[in-house]
């Protein structure tokens, strides 16, 4: 580590990693359910990208000093530091678009600021993500124009602003500039804001997703030791 890490960077990187992991999973859930075959393929590709980004971000934690991940992540879904928009599977295509256009872009704005920042490991390792995120942005912005005003968009934007934090004014401006539209009138209650999870809404990821994150869902379909022994 060439330079001291500013306080809180590990927490932001872990939240970014958790958000990207959940975003990747949510994209993947839609890879056969979007309105067009091309968007199905894009959902799968973006899902793979974001799962990869999550792994890279998590891999940076050990070089940022203390790793904020504790044992509670194995038992407590609320230990994940994702925005509330990713807690549950999306039931509407407009939710996919809102997450893709607003939240994914907010995460990119944060990554840009980390790449421009003083921490060497982040400056070097996160740069490639920005090239991949360009396609997520093009996809999200185009579909955002297609769906028009929608409550899901306002909800995603509110959560993006919360996630950027009470001191994220410059990042909020950058988000609106990228999306080429003014920030909507939002109601954010900073007194309820959790600085670790970077959200004000309580709640946590659903049980099915939490099991998947811990590898328990895959085991249901795997060959058990008893079956393997009996078959051999």
């Amino acid at each position: 580590m060439s330079k001291p890490v500013p306080g809180g960077v590990s927490d932001i990187v872990l939240s970014l990693a958790d958000c990207k992991q959940l975003l990747g999973l949510r994209y993947a859930e839609w890879c056969s359910a979007t309105p067009t075959l091309e968007a199905d393929i894009a959902a799968a590709a973006m899902g793979l990208d974001d799962l990869g980004h999550s792994r890279v971000l998590a891999g940076c934690l050990s070089e940022l000093g203390s790793d904020p991940r504790g044992p509670e992540r194995e038992t407590e879904p609320g230990a994940y530091r994702n925005v509330a928009f990713l807690d549950q599977p999306w039931t509407e295509w407009n939710q996919f678009v809102a997450a893709n256009a607003i939240l994914d872009t907010a995460f990119t704005v944060m990554i840009e600021s980390l790449v421009e920042g003083p921490v060497e490991v982040l400056r070097t390792r996160l740069r490639k993500m920005l090239a991949e995120e360009r396609y997520h942005f093009l996809h999200g912005r185009s579909w955002l124009n297609e769906i028009g005003p929608d409550p899901a968009v306002d909800q995603a934007w509110t959560e993006a602003v919360e996630w950027l934090g009470p001191e994220g004014g410059e990042l909020r401006k950058r988000l609106a500039a990228k999306l080429e539209r003014p920030e909507p009138k939002l109601s954010v209650d900073w007194s309820r804001w959790d600085p670790i999870r970077r959200r004000s809404r309580p709640g946590a990821i659903d049980g099915h997703t939490f099991d998947m994150l811990r590898g328990l869902e895959e085991r249901r379909y795997g060959v058990t030791h008893a079956e393997a022994t009996a078959g051999g």
Partner: protein
């Protein structure tokens, strides 16, 4: 799950790519999209079988045919 309407108007784009700078761009496929942004996203997602050094898309309507198959 509610499906939204699919785009009212779309364009066809040809996708060209090359693996190395010394290679010529070659036609790798087509995508259909309502605008250039989505066409880029779809082209990149669909034709990712190689580590291309360059990929471009061209709206089919911008292509001017000089000679066509069967012409003398």
């Amino acid at each position: 799950m509610t499906m939204t309407r699919v785009h009212r108007k779309v364009r066809e784009y040809d996708v060209f790519a090359r693996k190395a700078r010394v290679d010529p761009l070659r036609h790798v496929g087509r995508v259909v999209a309502p605008d250039d942004d989505l066409a880029q996203a779809y082209a990149r997602a669909t034709y990712d079988e190689e580590r291309w050094v360059e990929m471009v898309i061209v709206p089919r309507e911008a292509v001017i045919t000089v000679t066509a198959p069967g012409e003398e």
